[in-house]
Symmetry: C2
Subunit: 88 residues, 2 copies
């Protein structure tokens, strides 16, 4: 058993609007002169340490858990799980 | 001028507590039988498209902007900017 670093990203599906990102882009960045920014989409990131026998298992357990615990709303959001090669 | 994908991650400094992550770990994951999870730290991710002459410039502009606009609180948080090699 080792401890692996796993990242879970939860974000709105591409076709679902992201009002928070739109406001950051329009009313914070562009209004303050940073017209070089073209798009902002916000996401929630969970940086986790997961005990497992392999990196693949850490990723699999985490993805299963996120679905079972309904940590995101599958109707509007996507949940991406990545396990980094190194131990935590 | 090209458009680059830039990711901005805002998270609490390692020595600053993250109550949201602690609750997710203790009251959601461990309480539901996922004892394999050892640690959860939450972060905010901004997925951006930034117009610049190079990847390095996209990263530099974004880092400067995050500081100037006080998009995070430097007392408690760290802000990490990464530009991905590909165009958006």
């Amino acid at each position: 058993m080792r401890v692996y670093r796993v990242h879970v990203t939860i974000e709105n599906k591409p076709l679902v609007r992201d009002p928070e990102g739109e406001v950051i882009l329009r009313d914070l960045m562009i209004k303050n002169g940073f017209e070089c920014v073209r798009k902002v989409r916000t996401a929630k990131l969970l940086k986790m340490e997961v005990e497992a026998d392999s990196e693949a298992e850490a990723k699999e357990i985490t993805a299963k858990m996120c679905n079972e615990l309904r940590i995101y709303n599958p109707v509007v959001s996507i949940c991406t799980v990545t396990a980094t090669s190194g131990e935590a």
